[in-house]
Symmetry: C2
Subunit: 382 residues, 2 copies
């Protein structure tokens, strides 16, 4: 096979898209900084147990494994940075108070997460550690929405869910881990009949409640319906109250609910959100609360955060303005070199035409030219 063929779901990013990705990357990191989030850079490679502990099977299957030639131990390529940032909060920073962290870097997946997804997303995320209150959930949600707006993405809807509702119901049953996984799958696909078959031996009210869950998606009215049809378990009512509070504070986007939604990694422990935008088939941002994620690193702290893939974002983002450039001749003339240096210092792009290439079509977007008139160099329109 030709040496230039890339693996499936792996691609080069060419100049125009790369420039756009870099622009969005900077805007989003600047937005996180404005909110007071400190940048960290966890490594691409870690010991496998550091990457996978407590994060469930989905992440394990997504993670490339290789052997460390130095130690002989198994290492993994990160498929998700969240457990790494939790490790940094728990072990390296180990602060008593609230810690806000953000990150941006590639992650690698053994198989694409969706039929047309890349196996090398550029993951950007932000997280708050140390605050259990909803104010942290709201700040993360607001930062996620502001980030999409900074990328000129047309935000359509915020979808809210809470894993505690399903967990509270299943805690009333004696299902095996495998059966529980099957129930999660049936709920995800809203497959009421499969759900019925799986819960024949569950308490009648729980089985009925799970059936109801497959219908409990839509606008705020379903919160009221949920209070009516779901068992009066304290975790369920706390979850419904919190979803209502969050929904009431979200500005500039319509809010919907899906109480059966369990998508994403297994580390979520409370309210969750997904943000949908025009031109994007799947959610562009997923986030929520995962209070237990740092416990394996010796420090169970309240945690809430979001992550997104800038490569997916750029498809839905508004097209950036093209940066124009100045074409200049190549020469050893001191005055020419000084003028070029001054223009570049002022932020201008100055492309020197190398000897013998004068007639070439300039690939860069040159709208001006540096020419000499009466021994003086000046910029003129092309």
């Amino acid at each position: 096979m030709s040496a230039w063929v890339l693996p499936d779901h792996i691609a080069d990013v060419l100049p125009s898209e790369a420039r756009h990705i870099e622009e969005i990357r900077r805007n989003l990191l600047d937005m996180a900084r404005c909110y007071g989030y400190e940048l960290v850079m966890p490594p691409l490679l870690e010991h496998l147990e550091s990457l996978l502990t407590g994060t469930g099977e989905a992440l394990d299957l997504q993670t490339f494994k290789l052997v460390d030639q130095i130690s002989g131990r198994m290492m993994g390529l990160r498929a998700d940075s969240t457990p790494q940032v939790a490790r940094i909060d728990a072990h390296l920073l180990n602060r008593a108070g609230v810690t806000r962290l953000c990150y941006c870097g590639p992650v690698l997946h053994t198989r694409p997460a969706a039929p047309h997804a890349t196996r090398e997303p550029l993951q950007l995320g932000a997280e708050i550690y140390g605050h259990a209150g909803l104010e942290a959930d709201l700040e993360i949600l607001e930062l996620a929405l502001d980030s999409l707006r900074a990328a000129k993405v047309d935000v359509l809807a915020v979808d809210l869910a809470d894993v505690r509702i399903v967990n509270a119901l299943l805690s009333q049953t004696t299902l095996s881990p495998q059966q529980t996984a099957d129930v999660h799958a049936a709920l995800a696909s809203k497959d009421a009949s499969a759900l019925g078959a799986l819960t024949t031996h569950a308490p009648a009210d729980i089985a009925a409640a799970l059936q109801h869950l497959t219908q409990l998606y839509g606008d705020a009215s379903i919160l009221e319906e949920a209070r009516r049809v779901l068992p009066a378990l304290p975790q369920i009512h706390e979850a419904l109250d919190q979803l209502q509070w969050l929904a009431g504070h979200i500005e500039g986007a319509s809010v919907s609910f899906d109480l059966a939604d369990l998508r994403g990694y297994a580390y979520y422990s409370g309210a969750r959100f997904a943000v949908y935008a025009a031109g994007a088939p799947d959610a562009l941002v997923r986030g929520g609360r995962y209070d237990a994620v740092g416990s394996v690193f010796g420090r169970k702290r309240p945690a809430v955060g979001f992550s997104l893939d800038i490569k997916a974002l750029v498809v839905a983002a508004g097209v950036p303005a093209l940066r124009a450039a100045i074409r200049a001749p190549w020469g050893e003339d001191r005055s020419l070199r000084d003028v070029i240096a001054q223009l570049r210092a002022a932020g201008e792009t100055v492309v020197c035409v190398l000897p013998g290439h004068e007639s070439e079509v300039d690939e860069f977007q040159c709208d001006r030219e540096l020419v000499q008139r009466d021994a003086v160099w000046c910029v003129t329109a092309l």
Copy 2:
């Protein structure tokens, strides 16, 4: 072993250093843009033969290998981006004229390149394709020097070399590939006796010339000496003429020569340079001409470029100014939320103190506070 222990020569980058790395990354990419270099983002993973073709054993040993679950083929994690960018120029862009490309991203090494080196450098580089003349070599060298200055690095010296000199001498011998590799090693360590033992069967003038090479390092005077003591082979004189021209055009850095220097990857084909700076044990930038690097992708084009590791650069770089922040209370008050949004839109960092954490030492650098006076929110010094 504890889950938080990282593999050897793999490290997290914590906030203060991460902020500095991000700042340098932006400055260097902006500098390349000012010179007219277009940004590309090659993937971390490729088929092994795409990454390794024609790049020699050193790169092969540095490259992590893993199996593609989709195709069953061997893939490699890039240990150097240069062959990838050559592939992009040759196959994807396939332009007739001069093409300037730059890139910035992590590369991974199976073993550290130096005793204290990271196995995950953040490689940034720039390359010109399509121009065989020295003007391209000079532009790349000038961009490399301007990049170090943009990172507030105190440039000490530029070291020039040219692989054509050693190659021209060895082309006059019948050494086996292994013997040739041994000669390269002896030259690198300037081991005259080992060199003598390896060249006992070589022509006397070539053996003598190789002995001379171990002494041919220092200031411009060694170019004259080289002309005297080295055989009058055309490639050698062309190389010496070009090194002299380049040295004459370098501004703002002292220039030295090391005609036996063969360090780095095997793809170099002409003049090479290494840039040294205060506070850095090894060269911070290595670059030069590698005209054959794209040939395996069906397009042998003149090519010259450089690369550097931002993680190594940041150690030698001047410390950046700390960005101050504003502390604000958390509240649902519309006027408070509006003021915070305005401050952030103006580029200020505003950290909201979450309820219950008022007494905490703020980890962010807050020098001002948002307080309410007579129903008006105003920023006051702390």
